[in-house]
Amino acid sequence: MALLEVKNVTMQFGGLTAIDNLSTQVEKGEIHAVIGPNGAGKTTLINVLTGIYPATSGEVHFDGVRIDGLRPYDRVKLGMARTFQNLRVFPSLSVRENVTVAQFCRTTSNVVSNVFRTSAVRREEAKVRERVDEALEFVGLLDKADWRSKSLPYGQQRLLEIARALATEPKLLLLDEPGAGMTPQETQELGVLIRRIRDRGITVLLVDHKMRLIMTVSDVVTVVNFGKKIAEDTPEVVQKDPEVIRAYLGERGLRT
């Protein structure tokens, strides 16, 4: 059974149809990329899947549960985590705290026991710290755990967002243009990181512009244009699809 099932999802903003009757499936354990020209509806799709926008129509099933209609934090609890295209680290929190708040949804202690810092709370905190350190280590930011998050360089803030998403202990990680603003070197390292995430058993849904990144890491590529799915297959097949070439390069692209 597919981990994520998108059935006939449409998202309209007034008269604009950002996603038009789109259906797709993401299988467990794969790296699934969504590509498309600017304004094709890729980020909107992620926002619909994570519950930031309520879909106009259609259904989304995640791990056997129908999730359209759930609030974003409930979807996180079910095992869906995301990063943002425009960075959204918490500026007043340190690097470590940024990742720590993501563990909140996996903890159970209440306010009163936290006031008295009971032994159960201390055990919980120790476990959280271990998980947070592990997530920071995984992306290579452990040595900067006590930095102010905003003083990290751009590329590392992206890694911090990934560590933060991983700390929610997801089954599916949605990466919204993780390569944006990265140098070629950083992008290459990102590709390696994405594969390492998949190797941990986390399914990845990836939205990006960078063709080299997409083509080297993905198992399946879905191509959208004007909110519609125009192709879906392995990277090799999609690359040769005339419809895809037309969407990216226009009619003349086909003749060369």
């Binding site: 974003p72 996180v76 918490f90 929190l93 949804c105």
Partner: protein, 328 residues
Amino acid sequence: MSMRTLSFKDKTLIGIIVVLAALYPVITNSYMKFVLITGVVNAILVVGMHFIFGLTGQLHLAMSAFWGVGSYAFALSITKMGWPFWPAVGFAAVLVGLLGLLLGFPTLRLKGFYLAITTIGFGEIVRLILLNWSPVTGGVFGIAGIPRPTIGPLRFGSNTSFYYLILVMLGLLTLAARMIEHSKYGAALRAVHDDELAAEAVGLNTTMLKVLAFVLCGIYAGIGGAMYASLMQYISPEVYTLERSQMLAMMLVIGGMGSLPGAIMGSVLLTFLPEVLRFLQQWYLAVYGAIVIVIIVYRPTGLWGAWEMLVQRLSAAFGRRGNTHGTA
């Protein structure tokens, strides 16, 4: 917890409580002593506001309503229903906590100015109820005959004994606030303050967290309201005004937003400032306003920021690295 694990902020908090304890006997003027007691009561309210305004960043201007309901709930349960002192304080805390829940839920979708205006409206409604529901609240005449606290055989009838009791309460309530601030809840509330959308995307139930901040604020306001009523022994609606709400918010801002020591410093200082400036007579409000503006413009991090910088400079001058790496 050993001294070594205490942060600069914690040490400052302990220092403030010690200074406040030492200050009382130093002040000789009995009126000024009374102002100091009021300052400590205000500090309890401002520490409560720290949850909702300082940590979570929600501009809450219905503090006078919270505080007023706390005073009246306490005063009525003692004078009309004959409750013992401390259960009446507990009742005020619970009731205003529930009031926080009541105000919290419908206003969650509102932010910034919209929330501010709604809370102002809420405050006015409560003030008018206190004023006009005469059979219960006593209307403009208020409620008299409110007792001072007792604990078993101990009576806190004198101002001096009341002061040290309220200071101990402030210490305990500040400690509780500090524990919450340092727990997972503190970081989560600050995350909501920073970026609500991102907070939801990392699994934080922002609705629950904001309501929690309102409820915590309500509990502190209930306790503060009860102790204020006991201090004054007489309450009437004219003090629970929007002006007071603004004043309490200002104490938090002047003290330094988002820091507990700042909240207490701001409360005590702004309670004293009008008294110190009284000799200016009709000019005092203008000078008072000017001082507040100067502090906000030149010291946006407030008294806490100034104190932090001062200690850093001093320890640098004496060649010792001060540990000032508190959380921002």
